[in-house]
Point group: none
Chain length 208, copies 4
């Protein structure tokens, strides 16, 4: 369930990866501008640098592109996040590092994040769960960190609180993406991060 293979007529896996990367890049750009439904497969092919025929050598249906895009975005977010944090030794400081890293990633990938949020519901009943799964894994990262901190008595939260807060963290990162119009003129990214972190820690640290 962790991956859903999108079949390709082309056998050479290297090439498949290359072409799909071109495709995804072009698609993200177009989806950002006009959304999934307003973007035509021909435009995607053109933006990717090949013909419509070639496009369909690498996917079966237009929806596959959306799936690949969502998949790629999450993978990238995931990867960047994992790189930034050390899951083995969790401290309050490393939690803060993780938050900083997460907010930075969300800033860098603003457009991609918006695309996913606005278009994922266009995925079919079959593909959607795979994308939601990815999203869940993101929440999971924070759940794990918080759980460890609780175990080590650095925080005092029950299971349900951990989950709620983790969701909240993830959502607050997304907020930076889809509320730029309301936030960007007030805060720089750095200020926003600092403020958010302070609020989050206020929420979780035991009141003394």
């Amino acid at each position: 369930m962790n991956k859903r293979e999108v079949p390709s007529l082309v056998k050479d896996e290297k090439l498949v990866k290359k072409r799909r990367d071109q495709m995804i890049k072009g698609a993200v750009k177009l989806f950002k501008e006009k959304g999934f439904h307003r973007t035509t497969t021909r435009e995607i092919a053109k933006e990717a640098g090949f013909s419509i025929g070639t496009l369909y050598e690498y996917i079966r249906k237009k929806e596959d592109i959306l799936y690949l895009v969502c998949d790629a975005i999450y993978d990238e977010v995931h990867e960047k996040l994992e790189k930034a944090i050390d899951r083995d030794k969790v401290t309050l400081e490393s939690l803060e590092d993780a938050l900083v890293a997460y907010f930075h990633v969300m800033d860098e990938m603003q457009d991609e994040v918006m695309v996913m949020y606005q278009e994922s519901k266009s995925l079919s009943k079959e593909a959607l769960p795979y994308v939601l799964k990815k999203e869940e894994e993101m929440v999971e990262i924070f759940i794990e960190m918080l759980s460890q901190l609780v175990q080590e008595k650095q925080l005092d939260l029950d299971e349900k609180e951990i989950q709620l807060i983790s969701h909240q963290i993830v959502v607050q990162g997304q907020m930076w993406s889809f509320r730029r119009w309301g936030l960007k003129h007030l805060y720089t990214l750095e200020e926003f991060i600092e403020k958010q972190n302070r609020l989050i820690f206020k929420g979780i640290l035991p009141e003394q």
Copy 2:
């Protein structure tokens, strides 16, 4: 800028309102199920109980329907919220009441909220600002309340903090809509509200 008139060929304003209400009701139902793009104007007309020809007596383009829908949703949320709170005499208690009211509205209108979030970017460059304006007004409600509380020295927050927190409140309400899959099995609405309120107050109350 507060309203954008959608022109109608029909002059009788009462009738226009009636037909548009039918239309909006049908459209929301369909948009919930299949999204804006997958819903056809024919389907909307049918669901509304009149013919496609009649539909086009009351709007110019399909997008007008989306605008009317978004407009109606915000109006309803707004109205319910205003009804629940007393903006004249703000206390920490009435802030809490407002939060409770807000979360309840977001719960009742889950589907509508999702529709707006996922489809509003399908609005044209001209219509979008009007919808964003509505959204801003929602944030405004909380900004005002918080500002008053600050003025009355019940809270100690600067202007930017007020805005950030107001955005956060609004987003957290929306979170209940578009994260049901992750939250509903953990919390009842009441528990969720209680938890959220505690966290919000923790965030804003001065540490003693």
Copy 3:
């Protein structure tokens, strides 16, 4: 099972009949010339005298046109045949009349018959049985006549013989359509009929 309704978006049944007749007429002409697969829906619409959009108001899929064509052809053959014969009072003479009528119909509708024979296998699994049923009904007409004659002791054939001969009659009529290249330069229709009838009667009359 006797009819398979092809759904139409247009409600007015008279209009549906009229438009479909135009459509069928155009389609038969084109199918004759280039076959079902080589004929485009656009060509059919044009030949029928309306736009591609209108075409699709009266059918759901291209295949529906083929079904309507096959259906119409059989109906016409059937009708002409029923008109020519009196099923109540069967004599050897009226059997001969029926044969003459049948061969005439097959001559008049040569092209249509060819279309059906060469294209019916393009029908879907669902539609094909309905067309085969029609064909069977044609065979049935002769089975009934022969059966009556046997009952009245005018002929001496068992059940299986009756069926085989009926099939043979039907096939021989079709032969005139799809073997014109080999037969037309030898026989006029009248000669062909006369010869065929003589052969058929030789085959079924008891040897004296």
Copy 4:
């Protein structure tokens, strides 16, 4: 006119024959299942065991495959028939043998026969005559046999009758192929042959 060369880029004739045989075998199988138009060149190549590129080394256009298939089928029918009969010494008995052989061949090659009948009209104006010629040759076999028998006064038929009956024989063999649905549940092949032969002989033998 007896053969129409389909040009090949490959010079080695042995190889050409081998590859085309593979191709024909695969194509017949696929055409049986889904018809000429629904079968793609890719599928044919795959079924034949080589790549699409290789396929086009041995033909110029998809239609060539259909021509080769029709050609091959007739060749096979022809060959089997010639093997079964002795054209030099024709008697009423050997005519019967020929009929038996012919019906057997038609039974063995049912699917192939259907393919030819339903797809040959997809051949181009240039290729069709070559295929019809083959068909004519089949009729010719019976014309020759009957003519000899007439010459030897074993039968009394004029030229036109001979031709009609020959056509009829050929058609009746085909009938066994494309009317299985109506005949197979009534007759075994052996019964069918016996019945048909009796009818044919009744038709041609002088009434005593």
